[in-house]
């Protein structure tokens, strides 16, 4: 009973969060779900799209919806605009000489926050990129001999311009691996677009007056809850098959790693919870395949990049759809 109750509470909170975001950002429910999925899976998310599609608003709204340590105050939200001349210490912080105490003190950089929006990450030099990605992986910062722990809830939302644009340093595939999900924001559909134009004032107001619907501890609680989500053996097998299939395909130059598989499972569980379920379904498998896998693989051709994952997944979905009664009941 207790568990069911807490599950119900969890669903409610997630629902509230989604709804809150929905008040500010119109027609981006699916993207909002992905963002929360990455958050609950203790990962980070990379959003790729043209400027002005609402990425920053999304991140800000999320931060404003969660209250931090000090009551009534949202969690610490920092935003860094990445530029080519940005240096790692601009992110991490530096030791500066304190004239009064005659010692070096560490001036914390913008990374010491709960939610970080790393805007246009591919415009910074690789040095800066790797510094950020290291922090994301280890949740700590080492400056000189000192190691500093980051916040418990540290969530990065990185955005990047499409690779083809000029003045960018594309992220190496190995570093892209750190992001659990890579999603495309996309433009809103025509109706939503119209609605946004009509009510842009309200939206701005909403952004400023976002309610804090849950506490940072709730997020930690939900993150723990994700681990308890049930995943059927057949779904795990399907994940395995998909990962292995990428390795046996001539059109994939860099196949998926085992870590990708684990990430996939983590995301599946989180996504199930976001969708108010405590079990993973075929739908989750299908919906998450592209965001989880696409940026981790290197494809031979553009056509392959657009189609192969879908095809591999289709084989698996077919297999799952035709499981005999016996195996599906086990």
């Amino acid at each position: 009973m207790n568990q069911n109750e807490s599950l119900g509470q969890a669903f409610e909170r997630i629902y509230a969060l989604l709804k809150n975001i929905g008040t500010v950002i119109k027609g981006k429910d699916e993207q909002a779900k992905f963002v929360i999925t990455a958050l609950l899976a203790r990962g980070h998310i990379l959003m790729e799209d043209n400027p002005g599609t609402g990425k920053t608003v999304m991140a800000r709204t999320l931060a404003n919806s969660i209250s931090g340590d000090s009551d009534q105050q949202p969690v610490i939200f920092k935003r860094i605009q990445f530029t080519p001349d940005l240096l790692p210490m601009d992110l991490l912080g530096t030791n500066i000489f304190d004239d009064d105490k005659k010692t070096f003190i560490f001036k914390k950089g913008p990374l010491f926050c709960n939610i970080l929006l790393a805007d246009e990450i591919n415009r910074a030099s690789p040095k800066v990129q790797s510094a950020l990605l290291e922090c994301m992986a280890e949740n700590q910062i080492t400056v000189g001999e000192q190691t500093y722990k980051l916040e418990n809830m540290f969530f990065t939302i990185a955005t990047q311009n499409p690779i083809e644009m000029e003045g960018t340093y594309p992220l190496p595939a190995a570093q892209l691996d750190r992001f659990f999900l890579k999603i495309h924001f996309g433009y809103a559909d025509d109706d939503t677009e119209l609605r946004i134009y009509k009510h842009y004032l309200d939206i701005q107001q909403n952004l400023e007056n976002v309610k804090q619907v849950l506490h940072m501890d709730d997020i930690l609680f939900l993150q723990n809850l994700v681990d308890t989500v049930f995943i059927h053996d057949e779904i795990v097998t399907a994940v395995r098959n998909v990962i292995v299939a990428t390795r046996n395909n001539n059109d994939i130059l860099l196949p998926a790693s085992t870590r990708s598989g684990i990430t996939y499972i983590k995301c599946l569980k989180a996504y199930a919870l976001v969708n108010s379920r405590n079990f993973v379904t075929e739908n989750d498998l299908e919906i998450l395949a592209q965001p989880v896998l696409q940026h981790r693989l290197l494809f031979r051709t553009k056509e392959a990049r657009d189609n192969i994952i879908k095809q591999i997944l289709d084989v698996e979905l077919n297999r799952l759809g035709r499981l005999s009664l016996k195996t599906s009941q086990e």
Binding site: N249, N283, N307, R322, L325
Partner: protein, 879 residues
């Protein structure tokens, strides 16, 4: 060294099965052909096919790896050459080794051929085209070598090559281009290949069936052309009275058609000795040699017809090549059927065939006895076979009916006496009506009225049948008002102007030129118009040219002839020839050769099957069933073996003299001996074959052996073919029914599968697996109706369906996912909602999709197939 593969194992297997096997079969077919033409191959095509196959398979497997062709094949070639060179060295002086080296040569050539073919089919696109072209070329070469070609033979020769060509090009390309990563590659290839085979089979069979009449017509034209070529002079289409058989021998059956032109050659057909003399016993009385009777006139083809069912058949037609040497075959019904009692005697004749077919029997009418005799050794080169015939001959018959009667008063007297005797026959009273009706039958066509009138006018002063016959003869010999002969003999009478005009009318009333068949035909019709039973006889006219050898006659091809036989009660059928002499061409007497005299009488003739034969010692064991010993006949139901010495024997069969290798075990032969040693050993009155043999010194020397040809089993085979045909028909029926049943099952399979799921849903109302079957039934039903889930998640698919069909499948889909993947069970409420949902959904779908569309959708087998088929991952080639 690691050599990487080019083809996967599955592909190699597919190549072996789909390319290798047909190639091997065709190679065997070709090698069998080649064995017919080249003795070096020694009729061992199975072994040779295996050599080829070994090379083929080896190359397929070898070249599945990334080996270079030129170097590897050169190495192979060098190895073979070296081995052959060594073998040849060894072969010097040693016979067996020589054969081994020849054998090895054949092996290596075939192996290399197989090897190259294997490589080509496995790796080279060009070869796939070049190889069938090469095969076609070889086939054309073989067909060119065949002498007796027919349309059927052509089809049989080319159909396999054509079939193979289509097949191999298609299959090679299919296997080459197939995606090796594809799952169920085997099914894909075998399905495609079988489908293609079926298609090609159907197409070829259809073409053959549809164009069969055309093929037949072309074949006929060919035969006609071949005949025209044989005719002398060329140019016009000419036919000969005699037909030339395939082996060059001659028979004149079926040839007395009225055609525009007749060509005759001066080839010697046969030589005969006839023991028929006039009462003075010095003057030989030649008789016409009859081969067949034409009793029916077919107005449709304007030709006389042989009617095997003619009443009181008195034609004796045995096949001499099937009768053992010295053993006679007689038919006494012939004598009875001749209805001749007066002035008849038995006459003997001996016929030595030159160009005459060995299975043809020709003798003067009415023959009833046939006894094959050996050709004397000195004449073996000239005469192929010989037989003795006995006839029931009328004293009134003679070739001197019209020829050469003048200048010989004895012959003229004889003719007058004959007519006098025949004048005693005044009417045909007492002759059975059916017999009379048959032999006086003539077409009632008004075309023939003029002939009837002519006959009546000519014979108005004649009262007896013989006088009427003479009146008709005189008409042909009569002269017109200018003193010119009314009728003339011509080998080339020309064609009547009007196509529908009767040839005989044209001959009698306008052209008045023709050869024997015209005269005989016209006479026959006039006689029949006068109700005198008559028929046309075909055979050879006998010309007595030689004073050196009385009783011996030579028959050349230009002596083939047709004349009339008239029936006189009591006297039987009497020959009458109304053909007038050819005034233009003088009878140029042929220089006759020496007659094959020297007839030895055999002391022993044994007939039976060969039990064993030793060709080196020239000894033969014969199991004897029938024996002639000192002209006495012995027969035994149990065969008695006897050892024969055949070192001096001349062996002959229907085609002439053959060598000792022609004798084989179980062959039916007749052995004759003229050995003096046998002259003195006499048989006791009641001796059996075994008894006689025990008295003889073995081995018995044999002088003459004749291989007896098995009698043709025409009737039996005809029956068998009919049976076979019906058997085939039955098989075809069963096959068609089976195919139809398969087709029906195939068409119904979607509905059957749907019914299965549907019942499963109904029977599993309370079972926990109900959602499974509901899901299955629903997804199959929708799939069959054309709603396929294509690379989208079940949830989005369900959403789409709901939009299209106004259903609520989304909720069920979520429920089903929960049931399937969750660790918690469905609640009762959820469970109970499933069945109503299912029924509602089906109802809703039925409402949305009209019945006609649903029925059409349910025979869409391809969809069913796709439902159970795994999707594939296609490959993206960068361009």
């Amino acid at each position: 060294m690691q050599v990487s593969r080019i083809h996967s194992k599955t592909k190699v297997f597919a190549q072996l099965l789909c390319l290798g096997l047909p190639t091997l079969l065709l190679a065997g077919y070709f090698l069998r052909f080649a064995n017919n033409f080249y003795t070096i191959l020694e009729n061992d095509f199975i072994k040779q096919t295996i050599y080829f196959g070994v090379g083929l398979v080896a190359a397929f497997i070898f070249y599945a790896y990334r080996f270079r062709f030129v170097t590897t094949t050169l190495v192979l070639f060098l190895v073979f050459s070296t081995i052959h060179f060594i073998l040849q060295r060894l072969a010097f002086g040693e016979f067996n080794a020589f054969f081994a080296s020849v054998h090895f040569l054949i092996f290596s050539i075939l192996f290399l051929f197989g090897w190259i073919t294997g490589y080509g089919l496995s790796r080279s696109i060009f070869y796939t085209i070049a190889w069938p072209v090469f095969l076609c070329g070889i086939q054309i070469f073989f067909v060119g070598k065949t002498t007796d070609i027919t349309a059927t033979k052509l089809i049989i020769a080319f159909a396999p090559v054509l079939f193979y060509t289509l097949f191999i090009i298609y299959t090679a390309m299919l296997i080459r281009n197939v995606d090796e990563d594809k799952q169920k590659l085997k099914w894909f290839i075998s399905g495609r290949v079988l489908g293609f085979l079926l298609l090609v089979c159907l197409a070829l069979a259809g073409i053959l069936y549809y164009f069969q009449p055309q093929f037949k017509a072309i074949e006929k034209e060919w035969t006609a052309r071949a005949k025209a070529k044989e005719g002398k002079g060329g140019g016009q289409s000419q036919t000969s009275m005699t037909t030339t058989n395939k082996d060059g021998s001659v028979s004149n059956a079926n040839s007395t058609s009225l055609t525009s032109s007749l060509s005759k050659n001066q080839k010697l057909i046969f030589v005969a000795r006839l023991d028929n003399y006039f009462p003075d016993s010095i003057t030989p009385n030649p008789l016409y040699f009859t081969s067949s009777y034409y009793t029916k006139f077919d107005t449709a083809i304007q030709a006389f017809e042989i009617d095997p069912k003619m009443p009181d058949n008195d034609l004796f037609k045995p096949d001499p090549s099937t009768i053992p040497l010295y053993f006679a075959r007689t038919d006494s019904t012939v004598i009875k059927n001749s209805h001749a009692t007066k002035d008849r005697k038995i006459v003997q004749a001996e016929v030595y065939a030159v160009l005459l077919s060995p299975n043809e029997f020709i003798a003067p009418a009415t023959a009833f006895y046939c006894q094959p005799i050996p050709v004397p050794p000195a004449f073996k080169d000239v005469y192929k076979s010989a037989y003795r015939a006995k006839m029931w001959v009328s004293d009134l018959n003679s070739a001197y009916f019209i020829y050469n009667p003048a200048n010989n008063p004895a012959l003229e007297d004889f003719q007058q006496e004959r007519f006098e005797r025949l004048r005693s026959v005044t009417s045909y009273a007492g002759v059975p009506k059916s017999f009379l009706d048959y032999y006086t039958d003539m077409p009632s066509d008004p075309d023939y009225d003029s002939i009837r009138t002519l006959a009546t006018t000519l014979t108005q002063h004649a009262h007896t049948p013989i006088d009427k016959v003479l009146a008709i003869r005189d008409y042909f010999l009569s002269k017109d008002e200018f003193g010119q002969p009314l009728f003339a003999y011509s080998d080339n009478p020309g064609i009547p102007g009007l196509p529908s005009a009767s040839k005989l009318n044209y001959f009698l009333f306008q052209n008045r030129k023709g050869y024997c068949a015209y005269y005989a035909g016209a006479t026959l019709f006039m006689l029949r118009a006068l109700h005198i039973p008559s028929r046309v006889a075909a055979g050879y006219l006998t010309v007595d040219r030689s004073s050196k050898n009385p009783g011996w006659y030579w028959f050349y091809q230009n002596q083939s002839h047709a004349w009339v036989q008239v029936f006189f009660p009591g006297y039987g059928w009497i020959d009458f020839d109304t053909t007038i002499p050819d005034v233009n061409t003088q009878q140029s007497p042929q220089p006759d050769g020496t007659p094959p005299l020297n007839m030895q009488q055999p002391f022993l003739v044994a007939d039976g099957n060969i039990q064993s034969i030793d060709t080196t010692k020239k000894l033969l064991t014969l199991s004897v069933n029938k024996l002639l010993f000192h002209d006495k006949d012995y027969a035994s139901p149990v065969s008695v073996p006897i050892l024969l010495d055949i070192s001096l024997a001349t062996i002959s069969r229907d085609t002439g003299v053959v060598n000792i290798q022609a004798l084989q075990r179980n062959m039916h032969i007749t052995a004759a001996s003229y050995a003096e040693a046998l002259k003195n050993s006499m048989a006791a009155p009641n001796d059996s074959i075994a008894g006689i043999f025990s008295k003889l010194n073995k081995p018995v020397p044999i002088d003459e052996i004749k291989i007896v040809v098995a009698a043709a089993k025409n009737d039996k085979t005809a029956g068998e073919t009919v049976e076979k045909k019906s058997g085939k028909l039955n098989l075809l029926k069963i096959a068609i029914i089976f195919l139809l049943a398969c087709l029906l099952v195939l068409l119904l399979s979607p509905s059957l599968i749907w019914q299965y799921y549907h019942t499963k849903v109904r029977t599993s109302t309370t079972h926990p697996e109900q959602p499974f079957f509901v899901h299955r039934a629903l997804s199959f039903y929708l799939h069959q109706l054309g709603y396929q889930r294509k690379a989208i998640s079940p949830h989005s698919f369900a959403t789409k369906l709901d939009e299209a069909l106004d259903t609520n499948i989304t909720s069920f889909s979520d429920l089903y996912q929960k049931w399937k993947y969750s660790n918690t069970r469905l609640s009762d409420a959820e469970f109970n909602s499933i069945k109503p949902f299912y029924e509602q959904s089906i109802q809703q779908i039925k409402r949305k999709i009209p019945l006609k569309k649903r029925i059409l959708a349910f025979i869409h087998i391809n969809r069913t197939f796709h439902y159970f088929k795994n999707p594939k991952i296609s490959s993206y080639e960068s361009e």
